[in-house]
């Protein structure tokens, strides 16, 4: 026992010296999180070394029409939540690092002056080590490493989610802009009809009601255009917000068309399995279960240890000097660590419940988004292959009729507006398809779907 205690002290002293100047590994922790993110985001998740490089990149990205990839880069570089999440990993890393260190030894000194009634001056010195801290250190380091991994996974998951949120906002903004151009065309058609009606009226060929009907339709189209402009503006500012742009940043330019949808076939069973192996938040939750169960094991193992400490004592009184050692141990009379074990057990149950809840929601979300994706694609195809050609052919056939004086120009302009509405429907379906694609990626934790090609 004596030998063992000494060796512990020596070990503690050595540890204290050897790690006295080591730094908290925040940077490397962040790099590990970045490596995790790269699994789903590839080289997109490589970040510049310094703030100046980041600002340069931002300026370049914002100078051109912002495609989806660029939007994600901007969000990662600028979004305050992303920066907060990185900082949070720093805090976690520091906490875990601190927990993996032995507690510093306690040096106690005491001077006793001689009293007027006699006696010598007395000097007492104590160097005390917390013994259970030293004993628990290896297991604390073990679950600390797992906790660190969980924190890195959480950061990667947060950045991944931010990328998907950015995609959603980008799709909304780009689609709103496209809808806006369709509404503009509809308004142009309706206003042309209204002005043409004015000319018919001036020529004396139609009555006040017919003129007013065209004028009212023109005004309604203008109002509808205004609503679209509001929508586009709102979705743009939401995108700016998620990108982390401020008023001093340049105005956003967006591509004129959403990229085309493509036929995708998936095997639901396989996707469920993929999701369980890919989801970063699920990985983080599992790491949490692992670290909590390690902590529970340690709590159980050392439940009787309590607050034990050893100390080296020195005493000088007059000319006599003495040294000795002391030890203190917590007697497990009233508490044998049951509450600590119970708490750790509950924490494990909580972590396990979180994993199960994630697994259930992943399966449900994957199935739901597969259905959404298939339907949105079908709608998109029906717009492209059926409704748009049908509406266009109505315009073409009505034009022929109008050329032969079989139909008037107002009916023709109305048909033109209906054909534009079909394009608007196609934009809606395409946006739904992309958003389902993003939601499916979110459910799978899959590589980011990158709508980079315009159509």
């Amino acid at each position: 026992m004596k030998f063992r205690l000494l060796s512990v002290i020596t070990a503690a002293a050595t540890l204290g010296v050897s790690s006295g100047c080591s730094t908290v590994p925040v940077q490397s922790s962040r790099q590990q999180a970045q490596a995790l993110l790269q699994r789903s985001a590839g080289t997109l998740a490589q970040f510049p070394d310094n703030a100046e490089a980041a600002e340069n990149e931002l300026r370049t990205l914002l100078a051109a029409p912002l495609d989806a990839t660029a939007a994600i880069r901007v969000a990662w570089l600028r979004n305050a939540d992303a920066q907060a999440a990185c900082a949070q990993l720093g805090i976690s890393t520091a906490d875990i690092f601190a927990a993996s260190r032995p507690a510093n030894p306690q040096l106690g000194l005491a001077w006793l002056w001689p009293s007027p009634h006699g006696g010598d001056r007395k000097l007492d010195g104590t160097l005390g080590f917390s013994l259970d801290d030293l004993i628990r250190l290896p297991s604390r380091r073990q679950y600390g490493a797992v906790e660190l991994r969980a924190a890195q996974q959480q950061l990667a998951a947060k950045l991944y989610a931010l990328a998907l949120d950015t995609l959603d906002a980008w799709l909304e903004a780009a689609a709103s802009q496209q809808r806006l151009s369709v509404r503009r065309a509809i308004a142009e058609s309706a206003q042309t009809a209204a002005e043409l009606a004015e000319q018919y009226r001036l020529a004396g060929n139609i009555n006040a009601v017919e003129t007013a009907l065209q004028a009212a339709a023109g005004t309604e189209a203008a109002l509808s255009l205004s609503r679209s402009e509001r929508d586009a503006s709102r979705s743009r500012s939401r995108l700016r917000q998620i990108l982390g742009l401020t008023a001093t940043d340049p105005a956003l330019q967006l591509p004129t068309n959403l990229p085309a949808a493509e036929a995708l076939t998936f095997e639901a069973q396989q996707l469920h399995a993929e999701a369980r192996s890919q989801r970063l938040d699920l990985a983080a939750a599992r790491s949490e279960v692992e670290s909590v169960s390690l902590r529970l094991a340690a709590t159980r193992r050392f439940r009787l240890l309590g607050g034990s400490a050893v100390s080296v004592l020195g005493e000088q009184e007059g000319d006599s000097r003495r040294t000795g050692i002391g030890a203190g141990i917590e007697l497990p009379l009233f508490s044998q660590g049951q509450s600590a074990v119970a708490r750790a057990t509950a924490e494990l149950q909580l972590a396990e419940a979180h994993v199960r809840q994630l697994e259930v929601s992943i399966d449900a979300e994957v199935d739901a988004q597969l259905e959404q994706l298939a339907r949105a694609y079908d709608e998109y195809r029906q717009y492209r292959e059926r409704l748009i050609p049908q509406r266009e052919s109505i315009v073409a056939r009505l034009s022929e009729q109008a050329n032969f004086m079989l139909t008037g120009p107002f009916e023709l302009l109305l048909a033109r507006q209906q054909s534009y509405s079909a394009y608007e429907g196609a934009v809606d379906a395409l946006q739904s398809w992309w958003q389902s694609r993003v939601a499916l990626a979110r459910a799978l934790g899959a590589p980011l779907p990158m709508p980079v090609r315009g159509n």
């Binding site: 065309a185 142009e188 058609s189 042309t192 002005e195 043409l196 000319q199 018919y200 001036l202 020529a203 004396g204 060929n205 139609i206 017919e210 315009v395 073409a396 056939r397 034009s399 022929e400 009729q401 109008a402 050329n403 032969f404 004086m405 079989l406 139909t407 008037g408 120009p409 107002f410 023709l412 302009l413 033109r416």
Partner: protein, 434 residues
């Protein structure tokens, strides 16, 4: 020529009348006014515009004719066809010609999808031969052949048409002329004897079957189920006496007007009128269900319009109730309309002439299977008509079977411009188109 051997063998004593009429099939009508009824009419025979007469043979002392009712594709003019009903593959069906006193037997085969019957309009006959389905006979069932037989006790211009589901069957084109010649030719003798039926079709633009439900708003107004410029022209030699027999099975009365001549109305489906009842006219209203015989001497050389005088009947399908474009300044909006509707050609701001001009040049894309409302091109530009319109072409040197072309009239005065040529008129109308 369809001189069947049987006709020659059978036709003892009827050789002259058995000669078939000239071939007048206008199958390939050009964009300019149509082919001509080219052959001089044999006295006692008619020239059916764009048609022919029905062959017969003597069987048991009667002239036996055979009408076969069926559906087929009919062309109103190049660029416009429809599924029509008629007899022996045509609308109108072939003209039945006979001589007063003849006993005729007419076999009718029904290849239509529904029952039919044939009524002999204006013919005096026993009640049981009158062909009113349900009244004087049961209907002729699908696939059946029935016989009508009677003796002709009159002469004149008559008709045949169904009297079963008339609304549908006549709307689809079932009708024909029934000409009964006098035993002794009427005097003065006509060298030309033309015949046609007025009719109307509701063939909606872009569709391929007439709509029988339409009562007034028709799309095509026809002479013998053809529209200008696909209707045969009436070609005659200067000085010839001409008879034009006109029957009306449409839903409107039509004032038929001839340019350049004054004709006598000499008969109707009541038969030939006594000469004291003849009256000179240049326009004769042919009422619904009536026939009229017009006679005149073609004494005025030239190209003369022969047409219904209701202006909407001398044009093809047009939208009624579309906003009137005349007087509308569309130019201000032309660019915007062009951007929105690249296939649309706004016109009509100054009237419809512009439309006729473009249509006659084929510059304008209209709906499928649809004729421009105004078409045809003459030597001086667009004629801009359609429907019930053709030409009487009178030439001193007309030879049967040879297209006389446009009337040059070099020795004749012609209206002339006496002011400077209008700057706005960019088209060159001086060249003679053929």
């Amino acid at each position: 020529m369809h001189v069947s051997r049987r006709n020659l063998l059978m036709g003892a004593g009827v050789a002259v009348t058995a000669l078939p009429p000239g071939k007048t099939d206008g199958a390939q009508a050009p964009a300019t006014p149509g082919t001509a009824a080219t052959t001089q009419t044999t006295p006692g025979r008619v020239t059916t515009l764009n048609g022919r007469s029905l062959d017969w043979r003597m069987v048991d002392g009667a002239k036996e004719y055979h009408l076969i009712a069926s559906e087929f594709e009919h062309e109103f003019a190049p660029g416009c066809k429809a599924r029509c009903w008629g007899y022996n593959g045509s609308t109108p069906g072939p003209t039945i010609e006979a001589v007063e006193g003849d006993r005729v037997r007419i076999l009718v085969t029904n290849n239509l999808p529904e029952p039919t019957s044939v009524h002999w309009h204006g013919i005096l006959l026993p009640n049981g031969m009158d062909g009113v389905s349900g009244l004087t006979q049961p209907p002729i069932g699908v696939g059946e052949t029935w016989a009508y037989e009677f003796t002709l006790r009159q002469n004149g211009t008559y008709l045949y048409h169904p009297h079963a589901d008339e609304m549908t069957q006549m709307a689809f084109g079932m009708m024909g002329l029934f000409i009964v010649h006098p035993r002794i030719q009427h005097q003065p003798v006509c060298q030309r004897d033309f015949a046609f039926i007025l009719h109307n079709y509701a063939l909606r633009p872009g569709s391929y079957r007439p709509d029988p439900s339409v009562m007034t708003d028709f799309d095509l107004w026809t002479f013998n189920s053809k529209v200008f410029p696909a209707i045969d022209m009436l070609n005659v030699r200067l000085g010839e006496r001409v008879r034009i027999r006109i029957a009306n099975l449409s839903m409107f009365n039509h004032p038929i007007h001839l340019h350049g001549h004054r004709f006598m109305v000499t008969g109707s489906d009541g038969g030939r009128w006594p000469q004291v009842s003849w009256r000179p006219e240049v326009t004769e209203i042919v009422g619904v269900g009536q026939t009229r015989d017009l006679e005149f001497v073609a004494d005025n050389p030239g190209d003369w319009a022969l047409h219904c005088h209701m202006s909407h009947h001398t044009m093809n399908a047009m939208g009624h109730g579309i906003p009137n474009p005349v007087g509308v300044a569309q130019a201000a909006l032309a660019d915007r309309l062009g951007a929105l509707l690249p296939d649309y050609q706004p016109m009509g701001g100054n009237g419809m002439y512009e439309h006729a001009e473009h249509a006659s040049m084929g510059h304008m894309q209209g709906p499928e299977n649809t004729l421009p409302m105004a078409m045809g091109r003459g030597p001086f530009g667009p004629i801009g008509m359609g429907g019930m319109m053709t030409l009487l072409r009178v030439r001193p040197d007309y030879r049967d079977g040879v297209d006389p072309g446009w009337y040059s009239g070099d020795q004749q005065p012609r209206a002339r411009r006496i002011t400077a040529r209008s700057e706005a008129d960019e088209t060159d109308h001086s060249s003679h188109h053929r």
